[in-house]
Symmetry: C2
Subunit: 449 residues, 2 copies
């Protein structure tokens, strides 16, 4: 028995076959199916990871690394018998070196815990995927989020990785330096590989000074086109914009109903700026106001204090939960296409019209500063296939516009079908890389490529 | 005859075997040896590149891509019979899309020409390796430079690449979007691969708004330690610093002699800030002054106008040429180690002491905001071996401090010997990647891995 073997090798305390644990490891936050693995191993050390891989090789059973389980595309869902390798117990913050703007962490550390620890140093790790994901999982999906327009995503903020390959070898990729041109960039190859090339067992992260002077704006526009124009004006201005988010009228309607608010039901931009000094903040806030008014803003609210800011972002943060709460019995489907900046209004318009045409209910939210937006669909069971057809048409259109099937969530199972169109013959080379690093197909097989 | 075959396939006008052309293609700007290739092909199209590779496969003669020839580590110098594939005629700026902050260029476009074209759009491409390199060469070496502290290097600013593999296949890697989590990151694997994995035939670049409000500071300190402390204070402040350069006292002495100036012969910081508004600039300049004074500045000069700024950066820009001019008959050796920020003063001190101990003449200059600095050694012929020994000891020390052998210039021939220590067993995987993409070893063999 596989679980027995694992218990023998790793000890009782690190292996679980309890149905609820298996169930929790056979799913993610966005894929509709649940397929429990055969066993879950809670690794505590690199040696544990190597031991699991050794069992996997011997028994011919694949391994699926598991971070915090917040991903959305089925990357955690087994395609056959599999061991789930849970890394949440590898959760030590190994080093914080403020003088280098560097932290070294185990993969199970979550971003919120890291940022709590960093606050006292006046530093933070900027990548914010909304959910309280693990840093290993975030690297594995190349996560990004609201602050990416200013600070970049995981590739820009992970300096080095330790990974364990399928054969048990431990590699150190990258160095704790801000730049290097030394050798092939294996670090970035493993970032975004969704557990299919190796298991991430340590990360060296780039930290940033906590902004001292922050101001935010919430601005409502008559149309999505105007909203996008305003976003462009902000990007072109050189203003130190740190977040630049779109929330559409339907998302605001859902928030109004869910939280009993009365936000204008108009497309809105939520903006945050990080300034170096208080006086610069005043000045930059004034300039930003000027720009959004020129772009046709109907209503503008500025916030300078922390409480005002939190209140102001409520509608953005609650947009997902508003939809889930309005339609609690449904299945949800999230898309995350990204397109060249100027094509975003067009694609948002297309998504909205297509949603109506296909009689689907959902919101549109976006990291508009990156040309990346989400449609969140709440589908009745019998409409789920329609929601998937919607996603397919939306992705096809995004690719036509020069975009990508996934700006941040990754490929998993759901988006594999888009890969041939997006990558052409490069996809065959991705498959060859997979074979090179994992010839027996033991690491999260069936995902990405 | 190889040249005859190439002429037959590509036409007379694209092939040269003139001794001066061969000579110019058998060298770079920093490696001491010159080894002319058998022939130089001036490709004008992707089909030309494919044709050269076909000849290479048929005749078993390797191909070395050639951009502007400004690299420093011997990456262009053949290790045996070879064809130099010059890409300077593929120099079309194919598209500038200001509304997407995107430009699409052929690999032979130089960064200065691109920036001239972009100026009228109010945009620029920020990566600045000093020399007027080609964008293909810059991608191939993962170049970076003075503005990298703010805007990142090539990996952060190249969105997509077209590459031709050794087998003639054309791959499109990445998309013209600001972020993607789609598939394995082949784009970043080819960036920094120094022509050993494929030939870059098109680049899609990320552009930035030209800063409207720029101010600069030149600050002299009593010691390198103080200089580094000031640099740290600036980085931690959140100020919008766009350049943060160290020039040491000996470099200034050389500039004084070369240009007949009287700069204080003290370690100096050259700083540039990009502000969003005029008022923010005033305020940020004041704050920056406060910080450098607190850090122990002896002398500070601020410049707000374009002319003042140009004058102020003279000493930084002339430091290389000052050394070359002071010692015109010598050979030059440049190092480019990068270390974690806090180790930089220590390593600079080590380099200075070691240079003195080994009786070598040279300067120290650095992208101190990235923990990356150069020693420029001017060595008499009989001291060149000593200069190389110096570089070896410096790199060994940098690696001990957690650094990298090359922050920006790449590996070429000269730094191959450091790769085992820097990468450990990851180096064998780099070699496997090389074999995967170029099984016959036809692309710039003997370099990097
Ligand atoms: C409400 C909500 C909002 C979200 N918003 C965003 C967003 O804005 N941006 C964004 O990028 N994502 C977003 N996500 C998706 C999700 O948070 C990210 O994909 C996150 O990076 C997943 O991290 P995780 O730790 O939960 O990984 P998991 O879900 O546990 O795993 C994800 C993938 O990574 C692999 N993996 C995990 N750990 C390792 C490891 N140590 N080594 C190797 N492989 C590993 C897994 O095998 C799997 O393939 C959101 C999710 C939710 C629920
Ligand atoms: C005074 C001086 C200062 C410098 N300062 C810096 C600095 O601050 N930062 C920095 O990064 N560099 C610096 N450099 C080094 C140099 O400018 C960079 O390495 C630059 O990126 C090389 O570009 P190139 O077009 O000259 O490439 P080349 O020298 O022609 O080639 C470099 C490598 O790239 C390969 N290559 C070229 N074109 C292609 C292509 N289209 N496809 C595939 N491979 C290709 C070549 O085979 C070779 O391996 C400096 C050089 C000088 C002389």
């Amino acid at each position: 028995m596989l679980a027995g073997t694992l218990r023998q090798v790793l000890g009782e305390a690190k292996v679980s076959t309890s149905p609820s644990v298996l169930e929790a490891h056979g799913r993610d936050e966005g894929y509709p199916e649940v397929r429990p693995p055969l066993a879950v191993v809670f690794a505590e050390t690199v040696a544990d990871v190597q031991a699991v891989l050794e069992v996997a090789r011997r028994e011919g059973v694949p391994v699926i690394p598991f971070g915090a389980g917040t991903s959305l595309e089925g990357a955690l869902v087994p395609q056959g018998p599999a061991i789930s390798l849970d890394l949440s117990r590898m959760n030590q913050i190994l080093e914080v070196r403020p003088e280098d703007f560097v932290a070294v962490v185990e993969p199970g550390v979550t971003r919120k815990r890291l940022n709590e620890r960093l606050r006292r140093e006046g530093l933070f790790f900027p990548v914010d995927p909304g959910a309280d994901a693990s840093l290993g999982g975030m690297a594995a999906t190349n996560a990004s989020g609201t602050t990416t327009v200013r600070y970049g995503g995981m590739r820009a903020n992970v300096l080095a990785l330790q990974v364990v390959l399928a054969n048990g070898e431990v590699l150190e990729l990258g160095r704790a330096v801000r730049k290097t041109s030394s050798g092939y960039d294996l670090k970035d190859l493993f970032i975004g590989s969704e557990g299919t090339l190796g298991v991430i067992t340590r990360l060296t992260l780039k930290l940033h000074p906590l902004p001292e002077h922050v101001h935010t704006l919430r601005v409502f526009f008559p149309s999505v086109e105007r909203t996008a124009e305003a976003a462009y004006a902000i990007l072109a201005s050189g203003l130190p914009v740190a977040r630049l988010e779109l929330v559409d009228d339907l998302a605001l309607r859902a928030v109004n109903r869910y939280l009993d608010r009365n936000y204008p039901e108009r497309p809105a931009l939520f903006l945050e700026f990080h300034s170096a000094t208080a006086a610069a903040m005043q000045e930059e806030s004034r300039f930003a106001l000027e720009l959004v008014r020129e772009a046709g803003a109907l209503e503008v609210e500025a916030a300078m204090t922390a409480e005002e800011r939190t209140a102001q972002w409520e509608a953005r943060h609650q947009a997902y939960w508003a939809l889930v709460n309005l339609f609690p019995q449904r299945k949800y489907l999230i898309t995350d296409t990204a397109v060249p900046l100027s094509r975003m209004p067009e694609l948002v318009g297309y998504a909205r019209a297509l949603m109506d045409e296909m009689r689907l209910e959902g919101n549109i939210l976006g990291h508009v500063g990156d040309g990346n937006f989400h449609t969140l669909i709440a589908a009745r069971d019998d409409a789920y296939a329609r929601a998937e057809a919607f996603a397919e048409r939306l992705v096809a259109r995004a690719l036509e516009l020069g975009g990508t099937a996934t700006g941040e969530h990754g490929v998993g199972l759901r988006k594999k079908k888009y890969m041939p169109l997006e990558h052409g013959n490069a996809l065959a080379w991705m498959a060859r890389l997979k074979t090179l690093f994992d010839p027996e197909g033991l690491l999260n097989p069936g995902k990405v490529v």
